[in-house]
Amino acid sequence: MQEQIIRIIAELQKDPELTNRLNGQSSIVRDSGMESLQIVQFILQVEKEFGTEIDFDTFDMSLLDSVERFSEYVRRSAAAAL
């Protein structure tokens, strides 16, 4: 899942190099260069690809502190949605 998350970021940022630069420990906000508006596109894409729904009003931004942490959150949300 982490690889898929990194691929989504690289595609949104139109920067294939990000797939080499980012890893599980990378911060999704700080290391990707995504600003607020791109983060929305990112979350919408994650929802679509993993069949989950993220609450825009209560989402904890610190979950974006690492790809690993966010992947775990998505994994749990997707499992709960089944």
Binding site: S27, V29, G33
Partner: protein, 435 residues
């Protein structure tokens, strides 16, 4: 007196309007809260600037040395940033620091970046003057629905539809999607929730469901929907309308935006201005200014415009009735005052890991690489902000900073060389560029 709020749309926004999906980044909010230091560019020698956080002494000294004369507060108006809602004028209005009375000279005129509700009461409290239109007018002319209405009034092509419910959002959105992606705009364009590109039916449904959820809690809906246009360039026009309606076109700047967010302003070449003249662009700006004045607005305006791939020019994309980043850049152009220079202004988004990094280190590295602007040198870079770099300083983990830089260069080649050397400076100080 100069001072201001940069994410002012947040304070203009009607609180009962539904929102587009969005996330606020606390680090970005803190950076935006200290962008008011950019306002030194508007100061004349006897002027004062009030910044939320005291300017960095080395930065101030450098700016003074290259000819920017201004007085600025040496104390923080707010010690610790709390939230974006408590902007500078609210702090002045609700909980003023006792040192402010001495710093704000009674009788002076306050020229804000943009008008806010609290401007009048702050002026009363400190015996200052300010000239701004009524706030209901400021709010109205800054909405995206007003920009759409203005295109109709001026007989310009208008592709926007105002949607007033989640059902309408879905119905109109489905039709627009048949021909390509949609651009959805918050009526006040609040940073972080301003625009959203929707390129599939399932995303549209997701957004509509989110809006419907808010409507069920009593929110009203008002978004502007447009087909997502294939643009090849953005530019903006800065103009000023005085109280009597007299309009001056101050500048035109070409823009490099990334996903609707400001990245860079560059002085256009004369051929581009000629083209605008040929297409009667400036006539449209004057007609727009006359309508704005008829509606009760006066003051600074920044009009966003764009060029489409087919060659079509769209004169009014958005009306921003306030000062702007491009106007700030224009002010520096005026200071540099050299016809051989083509100015540009951009920001660098950086990840910093050294909690002890001092701004004078940045200045020293720029100087070492002979890229720090000095009027005696042929071009160079002027760092326009310092607090935006340090506001998120964290001894325990890397932190996000931003540096606004004006580059004075003779053309694109020199600009690129300057940019390369600035990147070398970042590398030497373990600052990682992320935009």
């Amino acid at each position: 007196m100069h001072g201001g709020v940069f994410d002012v749309e947040q304070s203009w926004r009607e609180p009962d309007l539904s929102k587009l999906p969005g996330f606020a980044s606390p680090e970005n909010e803190r950076i935006v809260s200290v962008m008011d230091e950019l306002l030194f560019v508007f100061c004349r020698p006897e002027d004062r600037l009030l910044t939320r956080k005291a300017m960095d002494p080395a930065h101030r000294q450098y700016l003074n040395a290259i000819g920017f004369s201004f007085e600025v507060n040496a104390f923080d108006v707010e010690k610790v940033f709390q939230d974006r809602g408590r902007h500078l004028f609210r702090l002045l209005d609700e909980d003023p620091d006792p040192r402010l009375s001495a710093f704000l000279p009674a009788g002076a005129t306050f020229e804000p970046f943009a008008a806010v509700d609290e401007l009048a009461s702050v002026c009363r409290r400190f015996g200052l003057n300010a000239s701004a239109p009524p706030m209901d007018i400021v709010r109205r002319v800054n909405t995206k629905t007003y920009s759409a209405e203005m295109r109709e009034r001026l007989g310009l092509p208008n592709i926007a539809t105002v949607v007033r419910s989640s059902d309408q959002l879905l119905a109109v959105g489905r039709k627009v999607l048949e021909n390509g992606a949609i651009l959805l705009k918050d009526d006040f364009g609040v940073s972080g929730r301003g625009n959203l590109r929707v390129d599939s039916a399932d995303t549209l449904e997701r957004v509509a469901a989110y809006v419907a959820q808010q409507e069920s809690r009593g929110k009203r809906t008002r978004f502007v929907m447009e087909p997502y246009l294939d643009r090849i360039g953005d530019f903006s026009c800065q103009l000023h309308i005085d109280e009597h309606g007299e309009t001056r076109i101050l500048s035109v700047q070409r823009l490099a935006n990334a996903e609707f967010a400001y990245q860079q302003s560059v002085t256009p070449d004369p051929a581009f201005i000629e083209r605008l003249r040929g297409e009667r662009y400036f006539d449209a700006m004057h007609r727009l200014a006359a309508e704005l004045h008829r509606d009760g607005y006066y003051g600074h305006v920044c009009v966003d415009s764009m060029l489409l791939r087919g060659g079509e020019l769209v004169p009014i994309v958005e009306i921003n009735a306030r000062k702007s980043m491009s106007l700030i850049k224009h002010q520096v152009d005026a200071k540099v005052q050299d016809d051989r220079i083509q100015g540009s202004m951009r920001y660098y988004s950086l990840n910093l890991s050294d909690p002890n990094l001092a701004f004078e280190d940045v200045l020293a590295e720029l100087e070492k690489r002979q890229v720090l602007y000095d009027p005696r040198r042929n071009g160079g870079a002027i760092p326009l902000t310092a607090n935006t770099l340090a506001i998120n300083r964290n001894p325990e983990q890397p932190y996000r900073g931003r540096l606004y830089v004006y580059i004075a260069a003779s053309g694109p080649d020199q600009r690129e060389r300057c940019d390369e050397r600035i990147r070398e400076v970042f590398e030497s100080l373990s600052m990682r560029l992320v935009n």
